[in-house]
């Protein structure tokens, strides 16, 4: 067996006293793909940032071909042949493709940037990856998948020996993922070491040779992928078994509470009809771009549907703006907590009171004590971890931020709660807390519509599952009928 090209042992890193990496350990081998697995907050991105020289490690041992090295800067990382392809495609949108590839090392002639050589070399590299990409195009005109390819081209251009891929498939279609994997296998065959970060187990078992699992900043397992099962990986990742993550409670399902009939809007979605019962969690599954959020936004009055009707408790609603929806008893916890859900710089009190201001005010004036009482009530009920209700939202952890956003909507006394990706970007413990909260809410007779792209979440929490694809409702499953295969098939089949 060959020696690892890069080996980390006992690497630590703290930010302002918070330990992001407690025991960073991983070995990368030439010609092999190592999958790095872990929940959000497990320390994966910190590890990547240390490897790419963006952050300095506080302590620990980093060896390159057996020799201790200090990375410390992006330049040094480049010199060692470490190149990274980042999740969100870290590129320069207004610079040309060629310049994006050679940004760390632009070809020069007599000290001046040599554009002709740069374009030519870019063309040669891109010919192997995607000949449709013209090196002169501005980066902005490329698809997300193509932007990833340009980052791979960057790795190829500087003869990278270690290629880090940080969730490169997050925004790619099935076919684009296949194309990416073909390239990954080529890089592997060329003897490069690849660190592949992904949440998707199918991908990991498809492409990786080895795995390394991180939990709470520490390495908890390493080995060969062929020696391990998916459930073993999950258990290592979360430190507990799968049943504990989804605390689904059985709540008696009541009569129909809410009904949408024939809802359509432009090219976004068409002829969407469904009902929601009291005490029911209705999961809405689909790929990114299937039109799920668009439907919810139309129900909530953020946009207006062209056709269709919305009924709550048998009464037809006219929703022209969110205030109509709130007034009727519909609340919407949006997907992006930080931008759409809450006001980060405001204290918890103002965030929770915001949609209920008209109930709370007396002749147009606010009483701070009422606001405070409301917030304190929810902080206790939802077990929000905070030093006090005047703490600013941005100072809370992701999970607690999400609880505040949920509290804010519960304070409006809704009968229907729409939750768009309710656990996106929060860690496992906080997810479970949110799920438990959902159980309590339906027990009180609410109906919840949960839009989610996470299959385990939909299957673990929903009583019924709607699947959308390209703006239309394609299938409905009861909790008993649903299998991962049938759901994914409905979401992806043309």
């Amino acid at each position: 067996m060959s020696e690892p090209i890069l080996s980390l042992a006992g690497v630590t890193k703290s930010f302002a006293g918070v330990r992001a990496l407690v025991k960073g350990e991983i070995d990368l081998y030439p010609g092999e793909v190592t999958a790095l697995i872990g929940e959000n907050g497990a320390g994966k991105s910190t590890l990547v940032k240390i490897l790419t020289g963006v952050h300095h490690a506080d302590g620990g041992d980093i060896r390159f071909n057996g020799e201790p090295v200090h990375i410390g800067s992006a330049d040094n990382a480049g010199r060692l042949g470490i190149s990274a392809i980042h999740q969100e495609a870290v590129v320069f949108d207004d610079l040309s493709v060629a310049e994006n590839i050679f940004v760390t090392d632009r070809p020069r002639k007599r000290g001046m940037v040599d554009w002709a050589t740069m374009r030519e070399r870019a063309r040669v590299i891109l010919a192997e990856l995607d000949p449709r990409i013209d090196p002169r195009m501005p980066m902005r005109q490329l698809s997300v998948a193509q932007k990833h390819l340009v980052q791979i081209a960057r790795a190829l251009s500087n003869e990278a020996r270690i290629v880090i891929m940080d969730e490169p498939t997050a925004a790619l279609s099935h076919r684009e993922v296949e194309e990416l994997f073909t390239i990954v296998r080529r890089l592997k065959a060329e003897g490069r070491a690849i660190l592949f970060i992904s949440h998707k187990f199918e991908e990991i078992f498809d492409v990786a040779d080895r795995f390394a699992v991180f939990r709470d900043g520490a390495a908890v397992g390493q080995g060969l992928i062929r020696d391990v099962s998916r459930d073993q990986l999950i258990a290592m990742m979360v430190g507990r078994s799968v049943d504990q993550i989804f605390p689904k409670t059985t709540v008696p399902i009541g009569e129909e509470l809410f009904r949408v009939e024939g809802l359509s809007r432009g090219e976004e979605f068409a002829d969407v009809s469904f009902g929601l019962k009291r005490g029911e969690i209705l999961g809405v599954y689909g790929l990114v771009g299937a039109g799920r959020s668009e439907v919810m936004q139309a129900i909530f009055g953020l946009t207006r549907a062209d056709h269709g009707e919305i009924n709550l408790e048998g009464r037809r609603l006219t929703i022209k703006a969110p205030e109509d929806a709130i007034g009727a008893g519909i609340a919407y916890v949006p997907e992006d907590r930080q931008i759409q859900g809450g006001i980060l710089r405001f204290p918890i009190t103002s965030n929770i009171a915001l949609p209920s201001l008209s109930h709370l005010s007396h002749k147009g004036f606010m009483r701070r004590s009422d606001e405070r009482a409301l917030a304190e009530d929810y902080v206790t009920q939802l077990q929000i971890k905070t030093s006090g209700v005047s703490q600013r939202l941005e100072e809370l952890s992701g999970g607690n931020q999400q609880k505040v956003v949920i509290a804010k909507w519960l304070a409006t006394n809704p009968r229907v709660l729409i939750m768009d990706e309710p656990t996106k970007g929060i860690d496992v413990g906080a997810k479970t807390a949110v799920y438990r909260l959902m159980g309590e809410m339906v027990a009180q007779g609410l109906g919840i519509i949960m839009v989610s792209s996470e299959l385990p979440e939909v299957m673990g929490m929903a009583d019924r599952i709607l699947v959308m694809r390209r703006g239309r409702l394609r299938a409905t499953f009861t909790r008993a009928e649903a299998t991962p295969e049938s759901i994914v098939k409905a979401a992806t089949d043309a």
Partner: protein, 332 residues
């Protein structure tokens, strides 16, 4: 309007702006043929050369997502210092004057840049402060007194006016600054990194580009050009006093934005800035000729600038999918 006269997908937006500028020139000339006489044009070019130089310097800072409000104050202070130097050493010749102007301007720019880079204060705050500091220093070094043409050496005054091929040295220097800036931005690694740092600071960090250093470099360049412009300004108008170029920084920024420089960084070029400067220069020179009351001139030129910026930003967004002006609610 820009759309009507040919800004289409693929066509550089500078072409549309250039056509708009020519159209403006044509309209003014049709109404007042006197406008296009050689003497008037020469003075227009001389005035505009100062604006263009300062705008090119400002562009460097805007490209890195900053803003330099201190350019005019820098020019006033440097202009006063070289005027006093000249008054005390009337026989020193032109070279020391130019060197002092550029070095001192660069030093004032470096001060801004270090505060932005090392102390991490937003550039708008830094330069809002140094704008007042630098202008206050003009008063300090001069004691509030003017330096008049009588106290200036003949070489000090005539250098900027000396004609080469019928065009003043002042205008040639403006052209030289623009050409050097264009070469710098297109063909040097630092110039390219300036774009990269402003276009996506996050990605620049990953690529090993020190964004703070690039911001600092932009301020030094802006300062050096402002210093040089300070001498040229004082010599052209043959007087140095506390209020030289007071408020001029706003026109400088306007020229940049009209020229297609994004105030959110990473987008823009010298050619656009030069045309933007010419556009503003024509408006400023045409209004008195057209006979608009001085009381209305500011309002009219402000209105025209606003319209030009809106048209330009709109067409730019359409063509490049990139916003020059972010909506206020989307920022922060």
């Amino acid at each position: 309007m820009l759309k009507l006269i040919g800004v289409r997908r693929g066509l550089p937006h500078e072409v549309g702006l250039g056509l708009l500028t020519l159209l403006l020139l044509a309209l003014v000339t049709i109404a007042f043929p006197r406008f296009l006489v050689i003497d008037n044009l020469k003075s227009l070019v001389d005035d505009t050369a100062l604006l263009i130089m300062l705008a090119v310097g400002e562009m460097f800072v805007l490209l890195t997502r900053g803003v330099d409000l201190s350019v005019a104050a820098n020019a006033a202070l440097t202009g006063m210092v070289v005027a006093l130097f000249n008054a005390h050493y009337p026989g020193a010749g032109i070279l020391p004057v130019l060197v002092i102007a550029i070095v001192m301007g660069a030093a004032l720019g470096l001060f801004n840049g270090l505060l932005v880079w090392k102390v991490r204060i937003p550039s708008i705050v830094v330069t809002l402060g140094t704008l007042s500091v630098y202008r206050g220093c003009v008063y300090l070094v001069s004691g509030g007194a003017w330096v008049n043409s009588g106290q200036m050496s003949p070489f000090f005054l005539s250098f900027v006016r000396f004609p080469i091929l019928g065009i003043s040295v002042l205008s040639w220097i403006g052209l030289l600054v623009a050409v050097l800036a264009w070469l710098f931005l297109r063909y040097t690694v630092s110039g390219r990194n300036l774009y990269a740092a402003g276009n996506n600071p996050n990605a620049a960090g990953y690529a090993g580009i020190d964004v703070g250093r690039m911001q600092c470099l932009a301020f030094v360049l802006s300062g050096a050009i402002a210093g040089l412009a300070g001498y040229l300004w004082v010599a052209r108008f043959a007087v140095a006093y506390t209020d030289v170029a007071s408020g001029f920084e706003l026109q400088v920024i306007a020229a940049c934005v009209i020229g297609g420089v994004s105030i959110t960084g990473g987008v823009g070029g010298v050619v656009g800035v030069v045309i933007g400067g010419l556009f503003l220069g024509i408006i400023k020179n045409a209004l008195p000729v057209v006979g608009i009351s001085p009381f209305f001139q500011m309002a009219v030129s402000g209105f025209v600038i606003t319209v030009a910026v809106i048209l330009n930003a709109g067409s730019y967004r359409k063509n490049h999918g990139r916003k020059i002006l972010e909506r206020a609610e989307a920022s922060s």
